[in-house]
């Protein structure tokens, strides 16, 4: 680094006071030129925002809204062929147009970034400590190596890595996802930057780890006093964390304002739809979610008017004339002015007053005057009450009963002479049953054994230990043909709609395949496929197309149609909505509820998202380290969780309500879950248990030596595996 840049940097540092923005983005556009005759991709179209010191700005939007691209442009991390216009000023200095060398001097020192996927974010061949020290050294090569190393250890300690000095020499693959994200945050903090951009920093992590990381980001903000730009699709994460929110849709900012203004008085139908579409962990089941119909437009083929107009329930002809500008609520031009204006005129945003509530909707004034909420403008589908729920649970027939199910994987070593060196206790003795017309949700963090349980049940073979009974038939004694016939009654919907459909089969072939396999006559097949397509909300003309032509939500509907083809009575849903955007997710959740009511289906619903589970499930089973720690009626479990782990899980979920979220205190669990190959003795949860520390010594002794059994508590449909369960008010 030359001396004049040091001086310039110092001047820039001292030049700003409390309210001058640290980072100011104005009218930023990013276009990826189309190659081979494809149209250009307009990823970002005129976005502006600014953040001041110590302030947190949340940028919210669904996939493809341009939120990540705009921040990558600010960091100078986009590929060379991207066309970037507008202005990005850091301490008043223009960043766009700087060459890579000049930009590299800013990156990681004045402005730094935390990325989404910590698993692939660190170079696999260097130790984490060296990579951290590099962040220090690259900006000041004169720092002695030992000093950089000491700083790296200090940073590791700061972000909560235990034994930082010895962990310095660890390689990334020796760290868990949460620990790697801590290292990424340490890297971003290394040079006391003035701006930290966090691009979905917790999306790939489990909820208890997410709570740890959000805590850590609060620490980072306090330690560095940096301005933080928090990019996310999760409206819960930003609610309690940010000061201001910017909502993006199809490459443009469509609404911005203070966090309370946006959450409690949104004046843009898209934001209202997003907020309405989120299932709430803190609210009891209250009918259908608010789905936003349709799909976001493709960034290479945008409509002329308001980009949200095709999906908007209150769109008017004027909305399609030209794109509305981002203006203060109520100061939008009148409809007559819009009709007189040139069609397709570029919008002129109102840039003054960073904190003001602005919205890019012609009818924002109207929405404000009438105090409309999502429920007023979005049609909410009616979901019929399921007939089965009339009968008491105990009288309804059993669809699935699992008793003492065990799945252990041997851990072997050696290539030529394999020998067993341990056991992974993937599923370690679980019991539950599902009655007709009911939904049981299996929840837990990754690695807790949810998917292994599913695979054991779907296999329809004799388990290693325990029993699986499907519709009253023990799977242990099934013959080949019995097993084949039983499969008709139990079907599965997979998590990832992108990879679970054969890309070379048409939708018709995909849906009719189970029918053909089970020998349905050809004539009936066609009629049945069309019926199924209509049932899941697709058109019959879709039958001839290939999966690649559909959006994620539509593909998941195809997957559901395939699962329903054989009229099963039990549907196994493996994270069916976790890969979908919120506005799409609501539609699929509604569909599942509607199908259950109309067809009397039972669901085994596997999910890690406890908000969705509260919305769809009748009963819930919480899993930890291959065991069920708490099971019972959803209402009971959510309102008075008895197991410390359930309490921690529920507490860790951020609520999309800024006021409530700020008032909550989260239970933040320590460290990562133990490996299922080496579970602790006694109670599996005791190593992370927040209650363990408050117990007396003989009580602790009991946790360490005795394994708690699932026993009923609270005189209702609720059972818990804890020696010291607790009655407690929920969230």
């Amino acid at each position: 680094m030359s001396t004049d840049t040091v001086a310039a940097h110092r001047a820039a540092h001292s030049g700003h006071t409390g309210d001058t923005p640290v980072l100011e983005v104005t009218d930023l556009t990013v276009t990826f030129p189309g190659t081979n005759g494809n149209p250009d991709v307009h990823a970002v179209r005129g976005v502006g925002y600014s953040v001041s010191r110590g302030e947190v700005l949340g940028i919210v939007g669904e996939s493809g809204s341009g939120k990540s691209v705009s921040s990558m442009a600010a960091m100078g991390l986009l590929p060379d062929h991207a066309r970037i216009t507008g202005s990005v000023r850091l301490h008043g200095e223009e960043l766009l147009g700087l060459d890579d060398r000049a930009m590299a001097r800013k990156r990681g020192r004045v402005i730094s970034m935390v990325f989404q996927d910590p698993l692939s974010g660190l170079t696999p061949v260097y130790t984490v400590g060296d990579q951290l020290a590099e962040a220090v050294l690259v900006h000041d090569a004169r720092t002695p190596k030992a000093q950089a190393r000491a700083r790296a250890v200090e940073l590791l300690d700061l972000v909560g890595i235990p034994n930082p000095a010895s962990r310095y020499r660890s390689f990334p693959h020796e760290f868990s996802g949460g620990m790697r994200q801590r290292v990424m945050i340490a890297m971003a903090m290394a040079n006391h930057p003035d701006v930290i951009i966090c691009d979905e920093p917790t999306t790939a992590l489990d909820v208890t780890i997410q709570a740890q990381i959000l805590d850590l980001l609060r620490t980072a903000r306090r330690e560095t006093g940096a301005a933080i730009v928090m990019i996310t699709h999760d409206l819960g994460v930003v609610a309690g964390f940010v000061d201001r929110v910017l909502v993006m849709y199809a490459g443009r900012a469509v609404e911005t304002g203070g966090v309370d203004q946006i959450y409690h008085g949104s004046r843009m139908p898209y934001t209202m739809g997003l907020l309405g579409a989120v299932p709430r962990v803190d609210a009891e089941r209250r009918g259908a979610l608010v789905p936003v119909r349709g799909n976001p437009p493709s960034p290479s083929d945008l409509p002329t008017g308001c980009t949200f107009a095709p999906r908007c329930p209150i769109a008017e002809p004027e909305c399609e004339r030209s794109e509305p500008a981002l203006l203060a609520v109520g100061s939008q031009p009148s409809r007559d002015d819009v009709r007189d204006s040139r069609p397709g005129a570029p919008p002129e945003d109102d840039t003054g007053g960073a904190g003001a509530h602005r919205s890019a909707c012609l009818r924002s004034g109207e929405i404000a005057r009438n105090r409309w909420t999502a429920l007023d403008i979005y049609p909410v589908p009616e979901i019929p009450e399921p007939a089965a729920s009339a009968a008491p649970r105990a009288d309804r027939p059993e669809m699935l009963r699992v008793t003492g199910l065990v799945k252990h994987h041997p851990l072997t070593k050696g290539t030529v002479f394999k020998r067993r060196v341990g056991t992974v206790y993937a599923v370690d003795g679980i019991d539950f049953d599902i009655r007709e017309g009911e939904t049981l949700a299996l929840v837990g963090e990754s690695g807790c054994g949810k998917s292994s349980t599913l695979m054991e049940i779907m296999g329809l073979h004799e388990p290693q230990r325990g029993r699986v009974e499907v519709m009253g038939r023990d799977t242990a004694g099934l013959s080949r043909s019995d097993r084949f016939r039983l499969r008709r009654d139990m079907q599965i919907v997979f998590q990832d709609p992108m990879s679970s459909l054969d890309p070379r089969m048409t939708v018709f072939e995909i849906i009719s395949e189970p029918l053909r396999t089970h020998g349905t006559p050809r004539a009936e097949t066609t009629a049945r496929v069309y019926e199924l397509l209509r049932l899941v909300g697709l058109d019959t003309e879709h039958a001839t197309r290939f999966p690649a032509e559909f959006s994620g939500g539509q593909r998941q509907r195809i997957g559901i149609a395939r699962a329903l083809a054989l009229e099963p009575r039990l549907l196994v849903l493996d994270e069916p909505v976790s890969a979908l955007d919120v506005s799409i997710q609501a539609g699929v959740v509604n569909l599942l509820e509607e199908l259950q009511a109309r067809l009397g289906l039972s669901y085994l619903f596997v999910a890690h998202d406890l908000s969705v589970v509260r919305h769809v499930a009748d009963r819930v089973a919480v899993m930890y380290l291959g065991r069920i720690v708490e099971i019972g009626d959803t209402e009971f479990v959510y309102t008075r969780p008895s197991h410390p782990y359930t309490q921690a899980l529920l507490s860790a979920i951020p609520i999309p309500d800024p006021e409530k979220e700020r008032a909550r205190t989260h239970i933040v669990l320590d460290a990562d879950p133990p490996s299922p190959a080496d579970p602790p003795s006694g109670c599996g949860f005791r190593t992370r248990c927040q209650k363990f520390g408050t117990l007396s010594e003989p009580e602790q002794e009991q946790c360490v030596s005795d394994e708690p059994l699932v026993t009923p508590v609270n005189r209702g449909d609720q059972a818990v595996a804890c020696h010291f369960p607790e009655r407690q008010a929920g969230v």
Binding site: D100, R101, A104, R107, S112, F115, S120, G121, E134, H173
Partner: protein, 326 residues
């Protein structure tokens, strides 16, 4: 790790033993040293031929098992028998091995270094001019057999020499016969002769390495860790060099060791065409001379080099990639 390597080593010893035994049995049963002696002018008497064959342990009237036992007991003490003219095979083998190793060490180092550099840079400039040119050049070289390249280069060299009227490019022999001078003049003379065959071998290797490295590099170019490195403050060039290339080199380096091992036998054509008396050329010549012991010895040497290469690549992989270390 040590135990793992020891077990690997034992595996290799067994494999080398089996490969060498097969090579000996195959050569001893299919080559016909008797014919070699009977063709001599003037034709020796049958008794003389038998005596000669017996003394060399090549007599086809002795049972193959007995001949094999005699030969193998020699090999275990480092004696690879005598060649058909009565010379010591072991000492000749080390000399020939020296010639071949001199030729291929420089060629593989040069070819792979240039290939890696070109391939990595082509990946960075994917679909641009440099990438297209590098791809075209690689495919042209890959689609021409080495023997054709060797001859074409020789033809070009001879016409260049004719055009200039001096011996600018040497294309025959390892050194000028009868040349005498100080040690550095001798060294220069050898280098002068080594230029063209090294070039021919390096060109073919360059093409393979360029393609391989380009693919490896493309895999990591878009990797998140490269972006992380840039976000720390590295320039694109630094991030690509320090993080992307370092990671993409791992598979290439193990590929390199294998190429080196395979080239001991693979340089045959180049050696023959440029008049270098290396391992490959020796093998071909001895097959024509029905020289059983040389064929078996060359096979043993090749087995050793291949095994050594794969052992080395195991070691290198563990050293370069912390993820496979346990």
């Amino acid at each position: 790790m040590g135990k793992f390597l020891a077990r690997r080593m034992l595996n290799y010893v067994v494999l080398v033993f089996i490969a060498t035994s097969f090579a000996y049995v195959l050569a001893a049963t299919h080559l016909d040293p008797r014919a070699y002696f009977e063709q001599m002018q003037p034709p020796p008497s049958p008794e003389a031929v038998n005596d000669q064959l017996d003394s060399l342990n090549l007599n086809d009237e002795t049972p193959i098992a007995e001949r094999y036992a005699t030969w193998m007991s020699g090999v275990l003490t480092g004696d690879f028998g005598r060649n058909i003219q009565g010379g010591d095979v072991a000492s000749q083998m080390w000399m020939k091995a020296g010639v071949t190793l001199r030729l291929i060490t420089v060629a593989t180092l040069l070819g792979s270094a240039v290939g890696i550099a070109v391939g990595a840079y082509a990946a960075v400039r994917q679909y641009r001019g440099f990438d297209k040119a590098a791809t075209a050049a690689s495919f042209v070289v890959l689609s021409i057999p080495t023997v054709v390249i060797a001859i074409v280069v020789q033809v070009i060299a001879s016409s260049v020499n004719d055009g200039l009227g001096t011996q600018l490019l040497r294309y025959s022999g390892e050194y000028s016969a009868g040349f005498d001078g100080t040690w550095w003049e001798l060294l220069l003379n050898r280098l002068h002769h080594a230029m063209l065959p090294t070039f021919v071998l390096a060109v073919a290797l360059f093409a393979a390495f360029a393609r391989y490295q380009r693919n490896m590099m493309l895999d990591v170019l878009g990797a998140d860790f490269v972006r992380t490195a840039m976000a720390k403050g590295l320039t694109r060039r630094q991030a690509l060099f320090k993080h992307a290339l370092r990671t993409a080199l791992i598979p290439t380096i193990t590929y390199f060791t294998f190429t080196f091992g395979a080239l001991v036998a693979g340089a045959t054509f180049t050696e023959k065409i440029y008049g270098w008396h290396g391992m490959g050329a020796w093998l071909i010549d001895s097959i024509f001379r029905h020289d059983v012991h040389v064929v078996a010895a060359v096979s043993w040497f090749m087995a050793i080099t291949i095994m050594a290469a794969s052992f080395l690549s195991d070691l290198l992989y563990a050293w370069l990639d912390p993820r496979v270390r346990v």
